[in-house]
Amino acid sequence: MQNRSRWHAGLTEYLGLAAALALLVLVFSLSTRNFFTTTNFTTIANQIPALLLVATGMTFVLVLGQIDLSVGSVLGLCGSVLGVAITQWKWPAGLAMLAALGAGVFCGAFNGAVSIRWRLPTFIVTLGVLEMARGAAHAVTRSQTQYLGSAIDWVAGTNVLGLSLPFLVALAIVAASQFALTRTVFGRYVVAVGTNEEAVRLSGIDPRPVKLAVFMLTGLLVALAGVIDTARFQSANPNAGLGLELQAIAAAVIGGTSLMGGRGSVVATFFGVLIIAVLNSGLAAIGARDETKRLVTGAVIIGAVILDQYRHRLERGRST
């Protein structure tokens, strides 16, 4: 394991991402009036928890050498369950949230268990669940957006120093996840399975529980994201999270997570999320035309990954 060189390069790794982020902030600060303001930064901070949580789960999945395409739909389903439980079934808020979290964990467990039991690529299984979860979200809401009013306002409405509870929770989860990925046996297993599953199996470790755990964890994080967004919008839309899987993958990839598995960092993914969020917010502040937004966003994703390639060459050059 190239553990030492990774720690060595850790600082430069984040410096590169931080520099890219600073560059974006600079560009937008110069081209708009109110981008470089506390209000704007707290606004962005309070918008990203959902994407941050989903991207954190996605990082684990990608490091494991797998993929989860179902996250967007599962987020829609969890929000829908929460919304319907409160508005239609008249459940108490706490119980409704538990049901939403349960739905997320169930979807994650389904993804993991089915791909393990029948040895199917997770690409296929999660693609199926992408459809099923969206269908379930529409079935449970009868395709109608549910308005919750102030039923769970405290979730998104609680503020500490202008930062919302979801943002602080998401930060704590990022820190805990980074710790779990780099400093625990579980994290080492995830990296090992993602690097070479066969070698892990031959050395007497069963990779299956690791896989199941990662997908269940992702399901839980996605559900949490669903609860947060539902609270923020005071409404549950069965179409919520459409295309979120691609944003989460983009954030992880910008952060240098390998799609081939074995390599990734939750903190780097956090930077990826920030870059996407700043880009979205800045382009909207400029009032860029829709086609410009798409062209720029796509170019930034590819540019970030190319930059990452160079960083790796440097890293390799240094470690040999």
Partner: protein, 326 residues
């Protein structure tokens, strides 16, 4: 098409495809739930995304109407999964023609791309009625065909919502428009209607951006717009889901009292917000009636064989007062 294998020469594949369609049509008819009575017209309803509350309401309205008039016609309702899946909708029209339905009532996913296949259907003797999203007039004229349109005037509806908003603002006030996807015709029309109203009242539109019909995307855009324009007075949103996103952005910024929001569609989720004044107004296009009007018109055309003409369906302005009046 699964029947056109690689061994088919390019010249033979249309035949193979046609055979495939016929086979598919037969298979569909054989397993279809509709009991067919000879002489009773069969009407195919081809919808946009059934994942959208608006279209679901439309389809449910049509199904209820068919049940009430079961002796007058049979209904084959089909929708596409994604509102933008034009290719799938073209396939659906071809399948319905192959099934020899008497009439097709279609809410096209694209106002141009579906014209060709609908012309083919018309040439094959099928009555085609266009609902909800009007076919492009220029292309219709170019192809020298007439497809009657039955549906709401989105531009007029949005203009009414905008006019109502304008009465609560002062000339020169800054407003922003959250639009639908750039390629959605009804979204474009609503955007134009908002522009008409704001320009007529002398408001300043500081930004017009797409929220892709989605709450979260509209929320992101709205939040950025408020930060950039702290003195903004109103958001005009091309649908209610996006209005929910704008309201959330205003709540987060503590500006619910300073910025007014209007939407479009009158979905059930905004009823409370309308009453509370967090959303000032929206428009109701009576989704449950649009497909029904289309079907009734198709039946009439089948019976009388008159020349087709457009028919506008009502759009109502919905406000806190109009809700209280109900």
């Amino acid at each position: 098409m699964n029947t056109s294998t690689s061994s088919c020469s390019p010249r033979r594949w249309p035949l193979a495809a046609a055979l495939g369609l016929v086979a598919l049509g037969l298979a569909l008819t054989a397993c279809g739930p509709q009991s067919q009575t000879p002489g009773k017209p069969r009407i195919a309803l081809i919808m946009k995304s059934l994942a959208n509350e608006f279209f679901l309401t439309m389809e449910n309205g049509a199904r209820a109407h068919q049940k009430a008039h079961a002796d007058e016609y049979d209904l084959l309702a089909n929708g596409i999964k994604d509102e933008l899946d034009v290719a799938k909708q073209v396939e659906l029209v071809e399948q319905m023609v192959a099934q020899k339905v008497d009439a097709i009532v279609i809410a096209p996913a694209d106002s141009k791309a579906l014209i060709g296949v609908c012309k083919k259907a018309q040439d094959a003797g099928v009555v085609v009625v266009n609902i909800d999203n009007k076919f492009d007039d220029a292309v219709l004229a170019g192809q020298k065909i007439k497809l009657p349109f039955v549906g709401p005037d989105n531009r007029k509806g949005a203009r009414r919502v905008g006019d109502y908003l304008a009465k609560q603002l002062k000339p020169g006030d800054k407003v922003a428009v959250i639009e639908g996807p750039p390629n959605a015709f009804n979204g474009q029309q609503r955007g134009l209607g908002f522009d008409d109203a704001m320009n007529a009242a002398g408001m300043k539109i500081v930004s017009s951006q797409s929220g892709y019909w989605e709450t979260d995307k509209a929320n992101q855009v709205a939040a950025a717009i408020i930060t950039e324009n702290p003195d903004l007075k109103a958001f005009l949103c091309a649908n209610d889901s996006m209005a929910l996103g704008a309201v959330a952005a205003l709540r987060a910024a503590g500006k619910l009292d300073q910025v007014k929001v209007v939407g479009y569609d009158n979905i059930s989720a905004v009823q409370t917000l309308l009453k509370e004044g967090k959303i000032l107004a929206t428009a109701d296009q009576h989704a449950d009636q649009i497909a029904v009007f289309g079907i009734e018109y198709a039946l009439q055309l089948l019976k009388t064989k008159t020349a087709p003409a457009d028919r506008e369906t009502p759009v109502d302005l919905i406000t806190a007062e109009s809700l209280a009046g109900k």
